[in-house]
Subunit: 430 residues, 2 copies
């Protein structure tokens, strides 16, 4: 019997993380990690759960935008939507009126992300597979058909994308087996939040070393002397061989980024993340040339694949930090991963927040199995917050992500959490 | 007695323009021109009216975002806000939670535009001056202080901006007098909408010629043969000496834009507007090199000054089409105008829609009086729709804009219009 999407319900879910300064950085001093959460209800078969991520105020705008975007798919037959997920992506992002309020950026694109994530969750559940498996089993042609090539073909023609996928098709089974056994490399940001005391940082880094982590990220950008002191503490703890990454969260101008990294270079950072405005492709390119061999990383606020295309074309980034809720779901993530493969750049996704780890892991597994076919120089961000709210929380072992086997996108939250953290009338807020 | 902002009211105002296909183009086939309109109420003195512009669905999202942004200024003393409008801009755009849903783009930035437009309207009314006069009478230092330089100083340091403004300060009085007597050059888009028949186009162009217009814009991008036929009709009517501009409204990929302009070059267009994704700076640069001497114009969807900076740095645009509702008000428009002056590029703003002409004229006058000090090669868009809804509608004479003398930003709508076109319960919608 055919299934049809009957309606969508949105849920404004906010966690009061600002109370403990988890997630504090130079730009975002007191975030309340939040999910604009959507359930797509069907008349037959599993519902789809999806979300986009914000840091508190404004989450209601994303919920309202999800309501607007959901109207484009309510009443549709799910088989038809799943049969051509490329067309479905264009449907969800292509309404000319809604597009005007972006286009393909900001609140309306965050809403498209939530809807696409929910559709893929439903598709995985219908197929009885986790999303990483569903996508990585697709033929190269089907995979390429997920992407909207209109604005990307000048950098990577779809025919070339298919050829590249075909070249790597052979080892898929071995890589899948490797992943299930050994997991996918990760790094931790749990220790380096700006709001933490020196003692707390030292203790957290020490703990993380004990758990097998080898890559550590810290926040910089509020005060350069403080940044140097905190970098010194972490470098002391982790020694010279492990990796220290720095994240400025966009607070610097171009010249200032170059000057400040001159001092922070003393602590041998592996990368500097978001050194300036996420929109400043040419600025990132200048910074990249100036701070080499420190690598420039960006992407959590890179709003669409067209921006990633240019960051690559301009040699402005060396670490591709896609985000599962900023880009509009697996289709657009795949577009960026295919381009990154062509440009020879590692995809090291942004995660953390709430739900971001659960979602993005699927796409790193797809990258390894089917796209780049390697995890050399790749690390997936891990932050140990808020996983307990999900039915299928991420699993890490020895600093590596272990793939989930449950069907869907791992993004479904416990009903209790949806109730308790609902803003403004859930128990935690009243 | 001090005045304080007591509350904001938002108004979802939509005009059913899709019924006549006014405003139709290849991307936006049936727009309903809409205003997310805000009134900032004070306890003493004039209220401030402002708006951002959308094309229908999604206007409610901008209204909701305006409500969220307004909270940042409700309760504030207006004198304090007006005393440092640069700080006020950072206040309105700088809330870290709301910023996450942009940053500085999409729905949240459109809302910031509405709020800033309303604040400047109020400021003009308090000062008893139209906004163009208020700003163009500021000292170079005060004018430069309106701009947030953090991400722009690498292209134009504020000290250099001040020097450039000082160099042009002397002729301000003469240029103001010239403007009041002779007006500011404009062009018309009223004839070239995609949904119009050939006969209607011919008649409208003929009418416009009679009214003294010398620049004509047409929409392209739906079907190349049709585009050529319609271009031929307009070129026939206007002759070889007048200007024909083309607007593709983002429907082409980079290669496709270059190929299609190869054929459309037969009709000697002056510029091609929005040939591809508004985010594709490097794509525009490639197109600009390929289609020269046809000029590349873009900006109505260019979401912030950081993007304009790069379009200029990359030599990707030759006509700077700022929009009063896409950029966050006069502060950010001024930033782009100052950079355009440095890069030697003409600012020819986007207008049309509803309210865009009323707002943007002020900034073209500022550009002429105080920034570029010229209107050579500048034309301001004019579309003859929906002006009747404003208390102080734009005035044109012989194809030129005549500056308004009424205090404020010319954006205040008739109460009857606010009532009748309110969505979804105004008379026009029920």
């Amino acid at each position: 019997m055919a299934a049809r999407i009957t309606h969508a319900t949105t849920h404004d879910i906010r966690f009061p993380t600002s109370r403990s300064l988890d997630g504090s950085d130079a730009m975002n001093e007191a975030p309340d990690y939040s999910a604009a959460y959507v359930i797509l209800h069907v008349d037959n078969g599993p519902d789809g759960h999806g979300m986009t991520f914000t840091i508190g105020r404004g989450n209601e705008l994303c919920c309202a935008a999800i309501d607007a975007v959901a109207k484009l798919i309510v009443g549709r037959d799910v088989e038809g939507l799943f049969a051509d997920m490329g067309a479905t992506w264009r449907l969800v992002t292509g309404d000319s009126h809604l597009r005007w309020t972006g286009p393909e950026k900001g609140v309306i694109h965050l809403a498209a992300a939530a809807i696409m994530n929910a559709l893929w969750d439903m598709y995985g559940k219908v197929a009885g597979k986790p999303v990483w498996q569903l996508i990585s089993e697709m033929s190269p042609e089907d995979m390429a058909s997920l992407v909207d090539w209109r604005y990307l073909a000048d950098a990577l023609p779809p025919e070339e994308a298919i050829e590249r996928l075909q070249d790597k098709a052979e080892g898929r089974a071995e890589r899948t087996a490797d992943l299930l056994t050994n997991g996918y490399p990760a790094y931790t940001t749990s220790a380096g939040w700006l709001g933490y005391s020196d003692d707390k940082i030292r203790a957290l880094v020490s703990d993380a070393l004990g758990q097998g982590w080898t890559h550590f990220k810290m926040k910089v950008g509020a005060n350069l002397d403080d940044d140097c002191r905190r970098a010194g503490i972490i470098r002391d703890e982790i020694g010279p061989a492990r990796y220290l990454m720095m994240d400025a969260n966009q607070v610097w101008g171009v010249e200032q980024a170059i000057a400040n990294m001159g001092r922070l270079a003393d602590y041998a950072p592996y990368w500097i993340e978001e050194p300036t405005s996420p929109d400043d492709i040419l600025g990132h390119a200048r910074i990249a040339r100036a701070v080499a061999p420190i690598k420039v990383a960006t992407g959590e606020h890179c709003h669409n694949a067209v921006m990633f295309k240019q960051l690559m074309q301009a040699q402005a980034l060396e670490i591709v930090q896609v985000d599962s809720c900023r880009l509009a779901g697996p289709n657009e993530l795949l577009a960026v991963m295919l381009m990154a493969d062509k440009f020879g750049l590692p995809v090291c996704p942004h995660a953390g927040g709430v739900g971001l780890c659960e979602l993005i892991q699927h796409m790193s597994f797809v990258d390894y199995i089917a796209v780049s076919a390697t995890h050399d120089n790749r690390v997936l961000e891990f932050v140990d917050h808020l996983h307990e709210h999900f039915l299928v929380p991420v699993t890490t072992r020895n600093g590596r992500y272990i793939p989930p086997s449950a069907p869907g996108f791992s993004v479904e939250m416990n009903e209790d959490s949806l109730e308790k953290y609902r803003y403004p009338d859930g128990a935690i807020w009243t």
